[in-house]
């Protein structure tokens, strides 16, 4: 049966008003940067602390340490014993977590707003000092190993491509090593390592504190001063550049996955420094034009027409969040395909579609509908106090501008078809890195 002809006229893509979340900031004498954003619409609050250290800062021999250390931050602090941090938060109706990224480590609580001061106290307490025993360190090494087993070792496609791509794409240890950690490195980690890491990277001046939700700004300023103000100022490490030369020829590697039933392939290209959003956002839009939904270039071609793939995703940044990493960072495509489709067919098809976009460009209509959905998805994310707090924190930490939370939809709207076309033209065959995943064991 032939598909119905596309006779309908395209509707004009929707636009949204710019958000106007109020933002206040202060910097304490010890260097802690603070962002406050009141919103009385629900009686909840998010408190987030972002430390400017991530997997890239791990020294050789200590792979996975940034993440292990994140676990240790829940094991006790100046005035709190093990598990008390959790019980204070959850036992007062809140949720909490922490996560380790390539360039930062974050900690947050989302709580009923009557617990705002409590959450600030808890974060201040572990910024003041961390208190880990050998027993708790051993325990958390075992927990982290089990985290790696469940997410990587006992899982098909585990770590694909976020752990498997960096060693192919990058050359420098900082960028290429396994951020979850080698078991040998994890097991040899010591309390001295932990104290040293805390002293060096967890200085107040190396952190951003963000409070979003049902708060009185003046009252919270007082609490912040009261709980964080007397944490001594410490030297803030100068963040090194992790930049490394761009690949000048195609890089290729193959991994075998004995748990995977079908092949997959990941492609990566280096993109411009994300700190400058005007040159970076066209790539973020490009990923959507190529892979977001049935009307995207690669999905329409490979899922609907050729049936050469079963799943396609495209995104910026190893962890899938375009705005949370600094330079260097990749544009990634991940394609799962049937065994009957040779990987070269997949690569050729991807290359054809990217080349076509790079030479012929895209219509204003295609761009507008792509941006319309990106904007809606973004607004949905920042509807939650936590989504807003995490977004503001990264913007403040990496770009000194929490206000970008309001400005991002406008910046997306300014991206032009020419910019997206130009971005596509840089994703060439000779600058790509290709990682094939083959099911089964090596022959």
């Amino acid at each position: 049966m032939p598909s119905p002809a596309k006779t309908r006229t395209a509707p004009k893509a929707a636009t949204a008003p710019q958000p106007d979340y109020r933002i206040e900031r202060l910097t304490l004498d010890n260097g802690l940067r603070v962002v406050l954003s009141p919103d009385p619409s629900s009686p909840v609050v998010a408190v987030a602390v972002y430390y400017d250290v991530g997997m890239r800062s791990e020294p050789e021999g200590r792979t996975g340490f940034a993440h292990l250390f994140e676990h240790l931050m829940f094991q006790g602090s100046a005035n709190l014993g093990k598990t008390e941090h959790f019980t204070h938060v959850q036992g007062n109706g809140g949720t909490l977590n922490g996560s380790t990224h390539v360039d930062y480590t974050n900690y947050y609580e989302v709580m009923p707003s009557e617990a705002t001061e409590l959450a600030l106290f808890l974060e201040a307490d572990r910024m003041r000092s961390v208190a880990v025993t050998q027993e708790n360190l051993d325990n958390q090494i075992a927990v982290v190993q089990n985290e790696i087993r469940v997410n990587v070792l006992n899982r098909p496609y585990g770590g694909f491509p976020w752990l498997l791509m960096p060693p192919v794409l990058y050359s420098d240890f900082a960028n290429s090593h396994n951020g979850y950690g080698d078991f040998v490195d994890l097991e040899s980690s010591t309390l001295e390592d932990a104290q040293g890491f805390f002293d060096r990277y967890y200085a107040p001046g190396n952190a951003v504190l963000t409070v979003v939700g049902d708060i009185d700004v003046e009252q919270v300023k007082g609490w912040v001063q009261g709980h964080f103000g007397d944490i001594p100022r410490r030297k803030v490490p100068k963040r090194p550049s992790f930049r490394e030369p761009l690949p000048t020829q195609e890089r290729r590697a193959t991994v075998h996955d004995h748990l995977a039933p079908a092949p997959a392939v990941a492609l990566a290209w280096r993109v411009p420094d994300p700190v400058d959003l005007t040159t970076f956002l066209p790539y973020v839009v490009l990923a959507e034009v190529l892979t977001d939904g049935d009307a995207s270039r690669l999905q329409e071609r490979m899922l609907l027409e050729d049936r050469s793939a079963t799943h396609i995703s495209g995104y910026l940044g190893l962890l899938g969040d375009p705005l949370d990493a600094r330079d260097p960072t990749p544009f990634l495509l991940e394609v799962h395909h049937p065994e009957e489709t040779p990987v070269d067919t997949v690569l050729d098809t991807v290359d054809q579609e990217i080349t076509r976009l790079g030479s012929e460009g895209l219509s204003a209509e295609e761009l507008a509908r792509t941006v319309a959905r990106m904007t809606a998805r973004y607004l949905r994310e920042v509807d939650s106090v936590l989504g807003r707090a995490t977004t503001m924190s990264v913007f403040e930490q990496q770009r000194d501008r929490a206000e970008l939370v309001n400005e991002l939809p406008g910046l997306l709207r300014q991206v032009t078809p020419d910019q997206v076309q130009a971005a596509a033209a840089t994703l060439t065959k000779d600058t790509r890195t290709v990682l094939e995943l083959r099911p089964g064991s090596p022959a």
């Binding site: 927990v143 469940v150 939904g293 049935d294 049936r307 607004l379």
Partner: protein, 447 residues
């Protein structure tokens, strides 16, 4: 050494309770029940549509599951007016997203859109509900893709364990097989999807929930304009009654060389409307339902056997259940099961402390508040409640029920629902390494 004075933990401020959302409701002439709530914040609207879609037990139920799965995957593959790509482009242009899926009880649509695009999205939804065309080429393509996806899905230990657990709990009831087999999918014909759609995709008994930055009466008017033409009728199909679960030994499935064992245990649990529900929730939280629980403290924070143990309650309409899950390192499999049985036995036979109970209670109340603080969270919550026959008052009444639970109530619920001898157990791991130690604790069945 200097003594540092402990800093006091600050007290809580006076709680500010969220206002109960005001829900406008109307049942359209075609039988569709519409709920709408205004929730400003972001200029979006969320929609959730639930269409009863239960299949029968037994052999015919298996082919129904396959058809229903593929129907969910191809509902948006084209209508008499637009092909799949055009449909997707038009949804996108509204700043919208729309997806469909089926489970053992219902066909569900979820969507969100820039609020000005709500009429447009509802129009597309109406077009799909009344005119999904299931084009042969798309259906055959999605059929192949579903087969591939099922293979990938089933390569995960967690999925293997869940499927085995549900089969053991529910046998040949639809809940016993959430997913079709590859063969059952390959047997589905495009024409059978059109027949199934005509027979079952009907407004009577269906519920549409809209939460967004617009007045509820306006939302309802948009729905009426877009969906009044949806007039299919269907008889009522209730999910079959659940069979009783027989006593069975623990099932151990082999995953040769696995570095972890996937442990799952489950049993029936009270529904939200049951008087036992609030005491059960609190007993379960104290046992293992949140991070600050005894089980997590024991097998993770004390012994390091696992990363993310949790006890979760699900509410399929024919019967709620509690499932406890932990992926434990292979050498600690038997010790982890021992501690799990111990903690279950403890909450079933000895009273929790008042402190444990109060802490769990505050967590349960707080979670409800956090979960309904966004448009998307409120829409999902109201839709789920409506599917269970509960209204928005539940958001007000449930905290009161939690407040009334005593230590004695929690013990009664713990012994009634969390006693280790009533849970069905499945383990997926390396049989050679874990079998002998496990046999010292429980009877085992190997497949």
């Amino acid at each position: 050494m200097t003594t540092v004075e402990k800093r006091p933990v600050p007290p809580l401020a006076k709680p500010r309770t969220a206002k109960l959302p005001s829900v406008a409701e109307r049942t359209l002439e075609n039988g569709l029940r519409v709920l709408a709530v205004r929730r400003p914040g972001v200029p979006l609207a969320e929609l959730r549509l639930r269409i009863p879609f239960a299949g029968p037990s037994g052999r015919s139920g298996r082919s129904f599951t396959a058809q229903a799965s593929l129907l969910g995957d191809t509902l948006l593959s084209g209508t008499d007016q637009r092909d799949a790509a055009q449909l997707a482009a038009d949804v996108q242009a509204l700043g919208g997203q729309l997806s469909a899926s089926t489970d053992a009880d219902r066909l569900g649509f979820g969507g969100s859109v820039l609020v000005g695009g709500l009429p447009g999205l509802l129009g597309i939804l109406g077009e799909v509900l009344t005119g999904a065309s299931y084009p042969k080429r798309e259906v055959l393509g999605e059929r192949d893709r579903l087969v591939q996806e099922l293979a990938i899905y089933r390569s995960q230990a967690a999925v293997v364990a869940r499927e085995a657990l549900l089969r053991r709990l529910y046998g040949d009831h639809p809940y016993g097989r959430e997913l079709p087999s590859a063969e059952e999918v390959e047997d589905v014909k495009p024409s059978s999807l059109r027949t199934l759609h005509a027979k079952r995709v009907a407004p009577g008994g269906s519920i549409l929930t809209i939460v967004g930055d617009l007045p509820p009466n306006k939302a309802i008017a948009h729905v009426e304009a877009a969906l009044s033409g949806w007039t299919a009728s269907s008889k009522a199909y209730d999910t079959p009654r659940l069979p009783s679960t027989p006593d069975q030994p623990a099932l151990l499935l082999d995953r040769p060389g696995a570095v972890q064992t996937t442990l799952r245990m489950a049993a029936s649990a009270p529904s939200r409307a049951d008087a036992d529900y609030a005491p059960f929730v609190l007993a379960n939280l104290v046992f293992g339902g949140y991070f600050s629980s005894r089980w997590v403290a024991n097998i993770r924070e004390d012994k390091g056997y696992t990363y993310s143990p949790h006890a979760q309650v699900e509410h399929p309409p024919a019967g709620s259940r509690v499932t406890i899950s932990a992926d434990v390192s292979t050498p600690t499999t038997a010790p982890a099961l021992l501690e799990t049985l111990y903690e279950l036995g403890r909450v079933a036979t000895t009273a929790v402390t008042q402190g444990e109970l109060d802490q769990a209670r505050r967590y349960a109340v707080g979670s409800l508040a956090l979960g309904t603080s966004t448009q998307a969270g409120l829409a999902s919550t109201l839709s789920q409640l409506a599917g269970a026959g509960l209204g928005v008052e539940y958001l007000r009444d449930y905290p009161k029920q939690l407040a009334a639970v005593t230590v004695e109530d929690a013990l009664a619920a713990g012994s009634r629902y969390l006693a280790p001898n009533r849970l069905t157990t499945v383990l997926v791991g390396d049989v050679d390494q874990v079998q002998a130690p496990l046999r010292t604790l429980v009877d085992l069945e190997l497949e």
